[in-house]
Symmetry: C2
Subunit: 248 residues, 2 copies
C-alpha cells in the first residue's frame, strides 16, 4: 500500500516572470523543501498580478492540496494585490492585522511609516503571521494557503523557518544511478525496471558535461528495499554494458 502523502502546489504571482524579465527560482526553493519533507509537489503555476487570475487559481488549488504556497505580490506598491485577492477568493474581509501593523510601526520612524508601507499590514481577517526577519513585513497563513513574498533573499529565510515546523515523518527514499551510456541505449532496460518496480517513481535525465554525456536514473519511492534493489539492478546492468556506473 502506498503511503498517503500530503500534497502541495505553488502559485508564483508576477508579471515580471511571465515577461521573461525575471527567472523564477522561488518555486524551485519551495519544491526542494517539500521533497525533503516527503510532501508531493503537484503543480507549480505562474500567473500575472491580476485579481481574477489570483482568485481563480487560489480557489482551484485550495480544494486539492494540503498546502498552497504563494510567492509575490505582498509588497507596498500598487501592483501588490495578492493579499486582497486572496481575501476575495475566500470571501473573508480584508482588514488591518493589528500585530502586523505593530511590527511595521516599530520598524519605521514616524516619517518613514508611509501609507504604502502600512498597506502591508492588511490581510484576510484571521490570518496568522509568518515571520519576516529581513524586512519585517510578514507573510501569512489563512486556511491552507501560505503567503510569501517574491524577493528571493527574503523568501528563502522565511521558507527555511517555516519548514522547520513541518513534520518530516514520511521522507522519500531515493537513489541515483548515473552512467555514460545514453538514454537511447538504456531506455528499454529502464522501462522494464519501471514495470517490475511499478510502485517506484523512476526518472531518466540526460546530462551534458564539458567532456562527457550520459544519463542519471533517479529512483524515488516509499519503500527502502525496493529503491535499493532497483538501484542495484540498474547499477549492475550499466556495469555489464561498460557504462561506468556511479550509485549515490
Amino acid at each position: 500500500m502506498k503511503l498517503k502523502r500530503k500534497k502541495a502546489s505553488i502559485i508564483v504571482i508576477g508579471n515580471e516572470i511571465l515577461s521573461g524579465k525575471t527567472l523564477d527560482t522561488n518555486s524551485n526553493y519551495i519544491a526542494s523543501k517539500l521533497q525533503e519533507k516527503g510532501i508531493i509537489c503537484k503543480e507549480i503555476t505562474v500567473i500575472p498580478d491580476n485579481e481574477n487570475s489570483i482568485i481563480e487559481k487560489i480557489n482551484q488549488f485550495r480544494k486539492n492540496n494540503d498546502y498552497v504556497f504563494t510567492s509575490g505580490g505582498i509588497g507596498p506598491t500598487h501592483d501588490d494585490i495578492t493579499s486582497n485577492s486572496i481575501s476575495k477568493a475566500l470571501n473573508i474581509p480584508f482588514t488591518i492585522n493589528s500585530l502586523a501593523k505593530k511590527l511595521i510601526e516599530n520598524h519605521y520612524s514616524d516619517e518613514d511609516l508611509t501609507p504604502a508601507r502600512l498597506k502591508m499590514a492588511y490581510m484576510p481577517k484571521g490570518a496568522i503571521l509568518i515571520d519576516n526577519p529581513v524586512s519585517v513585513a510578514p507573510g501569512f497563513n489563512i486556511k491552507n494557503i501560505y503567503v510569501f513574498p517574491g524577493v528571493p533573499k527574503i523568501l528563502h529565510i522565511m521558507i527555511d523557518e517555516f519548514f522547520k515546523r513541518i513534520e518530516s515523518k514520511n521522507v522519500f527514499y531515493k537513489k541515483t544511478v548515473s552512467t555514460t551510456l545514453s538514454e537511447g541505449v538504456v531506455g528499454e532496460f529502464i522501462s522494464q525496471i519501471q514495470k517490475k518496480f511499478h510502485e517506484l517513481d523512476i526518472g531518466s535525465y540526460p546530462y551534458f558535461k564539458k567532456n562527457s554525456f550520459g544519463v542519471s536514473i533517479v529512483i524515488t519511492g516509499d519503500k527502502k528495499t525496493q529503491v535499493n534493489d532497483s538501484s542495484l539492478e540498474i547499477y549492475q546492468y550499466f556495469k555489464e554494458n561498460n557504462g561506468s556506473p556511479r550509485l549515490f
Copy 2:
C-alpha cells in the same frame, strides 16, 4: 483602443522540476521570446510526467491561447509520455511520423537505432516537425500546440529557430526607471501614475545589490507616447526626491 495581442501559455512537463532537483529555465527562455514578439504570456505551469495531468492541461490551455508551448517528455525513455498524452488529449491517432523516422534512421547506425530512439518518431497524426539541429529527434506542432524537448541546450536552439518565423509587428513599448528610493517611499506616487496611465502595465521591482538597494519601475504598453510620458514623469519625481534616477 488596446491592441489585440496574441496569447500564449507554457506547460513544463517533468517530475524533476516538481521535486526541486532541476531549476526550470526553459519557460523563462520562451517567455523572453514571447515578450520580444509582443505576444502575451498568460500562464506558465509545471506538471508531472503523468498522462492525466498532461491531457487535462493541454485541453484547458489550447482553448484560451493562440500558442501552447510544451517543454519536456519527448525523449526515448519510459517517462517520456508527452507526445502520446497530447495525441490522447486531441483524440488524434498516435502514429509513426515517416519524416521523423527517416531523420532518426539517418542519424544513427543500424546498431544504434534502438527501439527507444525510434520511439521519438511517434507523434499525433498530421504533426508538423520542428527541427532539432542538435540531436535530430524533432519537436512538433499540432493544432495550436508546439512541442519542445526539456534539455535546455537543445530547446534554446530550437526556440531561436522557431521564433525567427514568428511575426513581430506589435512589439511592446517599454521603459525602465530605477531609483535608490525604496518601494515604501515611491509606492503612492507610482500608484497615482498607474491610475493616470491606466492603459499601461507598470510594475514595481525592488532590487538589492551589494552596496545599494532601490526599485526599478518597468513601464510596458502599446502606446509609445504614453510609455515615454509616464517614464519622464517618474524620472522627474525621483530626481526631485534625490532618488538618483536612471532611465533606459
